[in-house]
């Protein structure tokens, strides 16, 4: 049986599907009986989803970059 502390230590590997089969089963068994750890895993998933949803900073010099790229392409195309 895993302890809660051990479950938390393995939580990222559990979420990423990186646990070997035996350990995955141990984690599932622990979660079946432990409400606090179920809540922790749920909140970790929410944490992941929140990072994903956090707006990305816009590219502020996009026009300049695009201009340099099209210029570079034109120079390259010339024989």
């Amino acid at each position: 049986m895993l302890t809660c502390k051990e479950l938390v230590a393995r939580s990222s590997d559990y979420l990423d599907g990186e646990l070997p089969l035996g350990e995955k089963l141990l984690a599932r068994q622990h979660l079946l009986f432990c409400k606090s750890c179920r809540r922790f895993i749920k909140q970790m998933r929410l944490t992941q989803a929140t990072i994903k949803a956090l707006p990305e900073a816009p590219v502020d010099d996009i026009d300049e970059i695009v201009q340099r790229m099209t210029d570079a392409q034109r120079t390259q195309d010339k024989p």
Partner: protein, 203 residues
């Protein structure tokens, strides 16, 4: 981006359509920046990304579509970064910098490994609800900035960009076990910030 969509974008790029380049930069600059940031650090990341874009233009005609466009772009970025800093390639730093609201540390558990301070229920249960609070958004940005460059990049590449762990290893030249450690520590710190905000209502 699906295969067909990617094919159309490539055609427009090869034809030199400015709007296609804009779409490309807009879509992938964030991921490229995260790769550059991990390898050369924040000071030089933007320069490396700019060089990488020019390398992309030079090699566009030769892109065979054996990998996805994203993988190809990120590989070019990683190579540009590594070439420039070949001489002083940094060691992988697993150093854990302190985060504004800590992590989920040993103090949360009793001697027998059970929770001493178990997580309590949160008020919001969707990312949209959480992020609708300006203060929390700022608070999260602050926590992300407190992470080491490598830790933050691994987190962004995994969660925001959806890369597989193996792809992250290959791009950044770090072992799978190191990626797992970096990712886990980063997630726990962000978790601690969310938890703190949910409990106290402030950053």
């Amino acid at each position: 981006m699906m295969g067909e969509e990617q094919g159309r974008l490539l055609e427009r790029l090869l034809a030199g359509e400015q709007s296609a380049f804009k779409e490309l930069v807009d879509t992938y600059q964030g991921a490229m920046r995260a790769v550059a940031y991990a390898i050369v650090g924040s000071r030089n990341a933007d320069e490396v990304v700019q060089d990488a874009w020019l390398a992309v233009v030079r090699n566009l005609a030769g892109f065979q579509q054996r990998s996805s466009l994203k993988t190809w772009l990120l590989t070019i970025t990683a190579n540009t970064a590594k070439n420039r800093y070949k001489q002083n390639r940094r060691e992988v730093l697993l150093d854990d910098l302190p985060a504004p609201h800590g992590s989920v540390g040993d103090e949360r558990f009793a001697g027998d490994g059970h929770w001493l301070l178990a997580p309590s229920a949160w008020h919001e249960d969707s990312p949209e609800a959480l992020l609708s609070q300006d203060e929390l958004r700022e608070c999260l940005e602050h926590t992300l900035l407190s992470l080491s460059e490598l830790q933050s990049s691994v987190l962004v590449l995994r969660e925001r960009q959806g890369l597989e762990l193996e792809q992250i290893c290959n791009l950044l030249d770090i072992s799978l076990s190191n990626v797992r450690v970096l990712l886990h520590r980063a997630r726990l710190k962000v978790f601690a910030t969310l938890e703190h905000f949910e409990e106290t209502g402030q950053c």
